[in-house]
């Protein structure tokens, strides 16, 4: 692949899931039993042959740093390049960045220092599989300035949403910001490719002109002057933009086809933790669930995602739940549609229930 560096926004669109991002950045939201959301953006890059990745952070990035460490679990602990954290850079009088353009300015020094020809920019709030080398091929073939990746799905009503109109040559003819949530659209997945020199000019230019919004001031405004092309992401894509989509994206993993698509024929890298294998007792009854290392199951579990080290007590019945790392569910509990953040303890005999559209959320480290 052409020489490419990656830039990941680990802290954008956090407002969508305040429950989960109260204590962490969106990139370090736990997902799928043993992963964090950022693992998918990072693994896509590593599996595309990218060995230099800048990670733009904002605040509350302790948990992200704890997860990423030196980057060795992604093969990104390197002498040349590797994983580089880009904490917010500002003088004392300024507040931290407010939008994507300001965030990107945190990466200017990183991008200046890099020598690669291309830059891939990606958010860390979605589950998908993508080979960036193919996008760069298309980008070069189209002689594009910017290539934007889109996925066709129902337009969601969200805080900030971009769709494209695209002609038969994949050239983007219009950029629609917050279109009405009716029917399917070519929805931007917040992944784009540009030449490094082009992107640096764009950042500098936008700073001089006082641009605030990447979507409105650059994309929508420049649709005729910038050679913008689309690249279609085929297959599974789910972004985490509400607690419901968080539930759905997790439960989608119980579908064999989704599992095969996301995890088959490549590795999804994540922090390695040496928990013991999952243990099932004489009384365990488990159906249609993902069970991670370190779990000890004595009760009934159905349609659940169990993270590492979850304990399910005797005669407990747990259905349609996401139980994050080291949750302890007492004997005789009854849980339905519960999302419980890390390290929570549910005492014996408790009954907790949400529903599919309104799951019951338990904060990290709660005792109930």
């Amino acid at each position: 692949m052409a020489s490419t560096v990656g830039v990941i926004f680990s802290s954008i669109n956090e407002e969508n899931v305040p429950e989960l991002t109260k204590v962490r950045s969106i990139g370090s939201v736990p997902y799928g039993g043993r992963y964090r959301l950022v693992d998918f953006a990072l693994s896509n890059m590593v599996n595309s042959g990218i060995t230099t990745v800048g990670m733009i952070t904002k605040n509350n990035y302790q948990s992200l740093m704890d997860h990423l460490g030196s980057g060795k679990d992604w093969d990104l602990a390197r002498k040349e390049g590797g994983l580089i954290l880009l904490p917010p850079y500002s003088s004392s009088s300024e507040i931290l960045y407010q939008n994507r353009l300001e965030a990107l300015r945190c990466a200017t020094a990183f991008l200046n220092k890099a020598t690669a020809d291309f830059v891939v920019l990606a958010d860390s709030d979605a589950i998908y599989k993508l080979d960036y080398s193919k996008i760069i091929e298309a980008h070069t073939a189209n002689n594009a300035d910017i290539t934007m990746v889109y996925h066709e799905h129902d337009i969601k009503k969200s805080r900030y949403y971009i769709t494209f109109d695209i002609d038969k040559d994949q050239r983007i003819t219009s950029v629609n910001i917050n279109p009405p949530a009716i029917g399917k659209g070519k929805c931007y997945v917040n992944v784009m490719v540009a030449r490094r020199s082009y992107l640096l000019n764009l950042i500098q230019d936008s700073q001089q002109r006082g641009y605030k919004s990447f979507g409105r001031d650059i994309l929508a405004h420049g649709v005729n002057s910038i050679k913008m092309y689309g690249y279609k992401l085929e297959g599974y894509y789910e972004s985490i933009d509400s607690i419901n989509s968080y539930l759905k994206a997790n439960m989608d993993l119980l579908n064999k086809n989704v599992r095969n698509e996301i995890f088959g024929d490549r590795d999804v890298y994540t922090k390695i933790n040496d928990s013991a294998p999952a243990k099932f007792s004489e009384t365990a009854k488990v159906k249609n669930s993902l069970v991670s290392d370190g779990c000890i199951i004595e009760g009934t579990v159905e349609n659940c995602i169990l993270f590492r080290g979850v304990k399910i007590g005797k005669d407990a019945v747990v259905k349609n739940c996401i139980l994050m790392t080291d949750n302890v569910i007492g004997d005789n509990c009854n849980l339905n549609y519960v999302i419980s953040d890390k390290n929570s303890v549910i005492r014996d005999n408790r009954t907790l229930s949400g529903c599919e559209v309104q799951p019951y959320f338990i904060n990290k480290g709660s005792l109930i």
Partner: protein
Amino acid sequence: MLRKKECVAMLLAGGQGSRLYALTNNIAKPAVSFGAKYRIIDFPLSNCINSGIDTVGVLTQYQPLVLNEYVGNGQPWDLDRTFGGVHILSPYEAKKDTSWYKGTANAIYQNIRFMKMYNPEYVLILSGDHIYKMDYDKMLQAHKDTNADCTIACMQVPMKEASRFGILNTNHDGSIYEFEEKPKQPKSDLASMGIYIFTASKLFKYLELDEQDPNSSNDFGKNILPAMLNAGEKMQSYRFEGYWKDVGTISSLLEANMDLLGAVPNFELDDSKHVIHSRSPLAPPAFVEGEVINSIVATGGEVEGTVINSVVGTNCVIEKGAIVKDSVLMGNIVVKAGAQVNYSIIDEEVTIEENAVIGLAKEEASKIDGKTSGITVLGRGVNVQKGGVVPAGEIVDKNV
């Protein structure tokens, strides 16, 4: 400042493990899978790092490929160090006296230069075929406290089994007055665990003396220890209490795997005070749909059949209607619909096609008198065809 390490560990990992038959056709015994996600060598390596020993030489000779790849730079055990760390030590060619490792003592002798690089005061000798958790630092402390030249870890075994081990005959203060290798009429039930701490200078001296003796079989148990005892060196026993198992035979390997099961297992893997580190695979969590009872399951599996009293390794697929009972599935195994696996050890990369029957129910099979005591063994990469039958107690290393 002279850089040095107080204690260097030397792990004997060269044995062929012939009593594991098909399981060690292509890999050394320490690389054999254990406990769903581990390999045997994880236990001594984890013990080292958990005891504060960060310099380990792993002596390999027999089929070292998998073992070398697995140990790698030692990072999974935090043994990737700028000074020290884990090193694979294979026999090498020198200007003169080139040879394979002739015996355990000779293997250590050939690597005296490795040990001397670290200028150690003590050397810990370990075997690569035991399952246990041990704090070697406590043993080292005892070695220092008693001012011993050699300390041998030992544990009590049932008297009737004592003749299978090296037996220590000790005084009240724990000092050893006699060492008997596999005695017919044991005088004590204290068995050597094959774990020794030597004061380095003494070890080097006796290794060199042993090397000069053409009649020696260059073995710790047979030569070095008796020689030191005869010369009046201070030999101490160190009593270990806890779980320890030599997994050198098919039946002991199965037994040790079964010791991981149950609410209060004989051997607890889930121990935050003594984590067993391993090269953990990157697979997603196990998908479980079927009936899984009293078993442990590693990541990456798709379990839709029935699993009872078993150990299921990484990335195993057990299809709907398949039954696995009282067995060990090592990793990357497919058990197709309707197949049955009973009282068996199945090595990695095995495929068992529809409706095949492997082994016999434990109650029946364990009555069979044979080299595996009725346990059925399928070697690495074996494919059992549709409806195929492998009788109890068989050892299979070709497709059937």
